[in-house]
């Protein structure tokens, strides 16, 4: 099986959105009597049939606990589970499969890193740099880590387009900078950060780099060796996989130095009533029975992506974004938040003076699913001086027709407000 999506496999078929849509059974339904237009992909993506099948086949045919193999079924489940790990390894181009740690998702992964570093690495006076555009999941764990260790949380600002203010970021870096934790793509603004450069700058002062890949992973190829970050984390459910499974990637030495987050079964090597020694990577971080079906489902999602024209999908999402911006400009009372040069198809906006929640409700009545509110980025909303936005976020299965439907629905919503 070819598993890498970094080097595109020769495709015999070009990207065709109509064909792609047939792979996602949920999309073919009505909401309040109207065809569903699912534009909440930044919250979670829908699942292709192959992922749904992988889950049910696992439970129907292969369910057993892993790494406890006294019987064939357990061996088989273990094999599928470890194959899934290899699949993720190749998908993000990690050097070794033991650098792939299964987690519940991005949030747990960041907590594992922050909590471990607070214990083993951070000391009073150290500085942790995050940015204004971080999700709460990449703010609060660091706040707690700072409180526990006596370190200081420093926030790198953004410019008016919603891009990281690089000159200021560089001036914030100094010998006290212990950690730089930033998002790859902003879940609210769609900004794609220049992670390679962020990491490169952080390395000059010896800081550990942690990249929140939750929004990036489902939209573009990620190569962790090229980015050269110490840690990269993401969730399976934003990558067309199941909920409750995520990935913590770390450089080998960083993972070796990081203390375990949870203790119990599987993660130990020897246990007496006095003490325990830790198992090797990756098991040191995987206490208890893992989400076996989730890992296998995520692996099926990666296989799915490897089987389509990924470059074509990326170009398609880009077209949707541009079409969206074009229609927004035609509607003079739409204010866009996040106009970065390098941006993903996450479209955050306000319609006139209307409250985002009203707009969301009126769109829902017309079959259009968006998210409204602060998108778990309250500090960013405070910085922008707004209570929240309406967010339409696109994925590879959305169509230009759906973009047009969004704007027709917004025009109708306006008549109410």
């Amino acid at each position: 099986m070819t598993m890498s999506s970094i080097t595109p496999i020769t495709k015999n078929q070009q990207f065709n959105v109509d064909k792609i849509r047939q792979d996602f059974p949920l999309l073919n339904q009505k909401i309040k009597g109207k065809p569903l237009v699912y534009l909440d992909n930044a919250a979670t993506t829908q699942k292709p049939q192959v992922v749904i099948d992988a889950l049910s086949q696992f439970y129907a045919n292969s369910n057993s606990n892993v790494h406890r193999g006294a019987h064939s079924l357990s061996d088989h489940a273990t094999e599928l589970f470890e194959k899934a790990r290899n699949n993720v390894q190749h998908f993000i181009n990690a050097k070794f499969s033991h650098q792939i740690i299964w987690t519940k998702g991005t949030t747990e992964a960041i907590n594992m890193i922050a909590s471990g570093l607070a214990q083993s690495h951070l000391k009073p006076g150290d500085e942790i740099i995050i940015s204004t555009m971080e999700h709460h999941a990449n703010i609060v764990p660091w706040q707690v880590a700072a409180q526990r260790s006596g370190a200081k949380l420093i926030v790198a600002p953004i410019n008016e387009k919603g891009e990281l203010n690089f000159p200021v970021y560089k001036t914030l870096l100094n010998e006290k900078t212990a950690i730089v934790a930033m998002t790859h793509v902003s879940n609210t603004l769609g900004t794609i950060n220049d992670v390679k450069e962020i990491v490169h700058c952080a390395q000059q002062v010896g800081a550990i780099t942690v990249i929140d890949g939750a929004q990036a992973i489902g939209h573009d190829s990620v190569d962790v060796q090229d980015l050269d970050c110490d840690f990269y984390v993401f969730s399976g459910h934003k990558l067309f996989g199941p909920t409750g499974i995520g990935v913590l990637y770390g450089k080998e030495d960083r993972l070796e130095q990081l203390p375990p987050f949870q203790t119990g079964g599987e993660m130990i090597q020897t246990v007496t009533f006095q003490e325990a020694t830790w198992n090797a990577l990756p098991y040191k971080f995987e206490a208890g029975t893992p989400n076996i079906a989730g890992a296998i489902g995520l692996s099926a999602a990666i296989d799915y992506l490897s089987g389509i024209d990924r470059a074509g999908a990326i170009a398609h999402e880009h077209r949707l974004m541009n079409y969206c911006i074009e229609l927004a400009q035609d509607m003079d009372d739409i204010r866009l938040y996040g106009t970065a040069q390098n941006k993903m198809a996450i479209f955050s906006f306000l319609l006139g003076d209307a409250h985002p929640s009203d707009v969301g409700t009126l769109l829902n009545q017309q079959g259009i699913a968006v998210r409204t509110g602060h998108h778990c980025t309250m500090p960013l909303m405070n910085e922008l001086g707004i209570p929240g936005t309406v967010r339409a976020s696109f994925s590879l299965y959305n169509t230009e027709e759906e973009v047009a439907m969004l704007f027709a629905a917004l025009t109708k919503a306006k008549t109410f407000l």
């Binding site: 309040k32 209307a354 409250h355 985002p356 929640s357 009203d358 969301g360 409700t361 009126l362 009545q365 409204t372 509110g373 602060h374 209570p387 929240g388 109410f416 407000l417």
Partner: protein, 152 residues
């Protein structure tokens, strides 16, 4: 009537001129969602203006997508609870007005006796509890019931 600390609370039609049964009747007339939502938004506009001084953290009910301010006062002489609500979102404001049509200017006993879930099912607007959690209305109902039990 006993004098209220916030006199504005005795104004407004909800609970008296506009009762929960009136709203249920009107909503049942509409065939399409557009009429229903225009009506809900109009109901919100009939709410008593809440003095800005009442927009305190104490009165705030935070939802994920929008927030609601609820002020409640107990008139001991007449054994009635007076309330007023506000929200920045028009639809939430209208929905909050609907809640007031059931609870405002009622005795604590009437409030706790009222079957709010049956009412919500009847008007078919709150079919998703999660959306009520999101807009703070479920928390608003809980707070009113809590206050009614305290005074009852």
């Amino acid at each position: 009537m006993n004098k209220l600390a916030i006199p504005a609370l005795s104004n407004g039609p909800f609970g008296t001129e506009i009762k929960s049964t009136d709203i249920a009747d009107t909503l049942s007339f509409f065939d399409d969602w557009e009429d229903r939502y225009r009506y809900i938004i109009d109901l919100g506009k009939e709410l008593t203006t809440l003095p800005t001084s009442c927009r305190t953290d104490e009165n705030l009910i935070i939802g994920c997508q929008s927030q609601v301010w609820l002020v409640c006062e107990y008139d001991k002489t007449n054994n009635l609870l007076f309330m007023a609500v506000d929200s920045e979102a028009l639809i939430v404001k209208g929905l909050a007005a609907i809640v007031l049509s059931a609870f405002n200017k009622k005795t604590p006993q009437q409030i706790t006796d009222f079957n709010i879930d049956a009412f919500f099912t009847d008007i078919d607007l709150f079919n998703h509890l999660s959306s009520m959690r999101g807009n703070g209305l479920r928390a608003m109902v809980s707070k009113i019931l809590y206050l009614a039990k305290n005074y009852g």
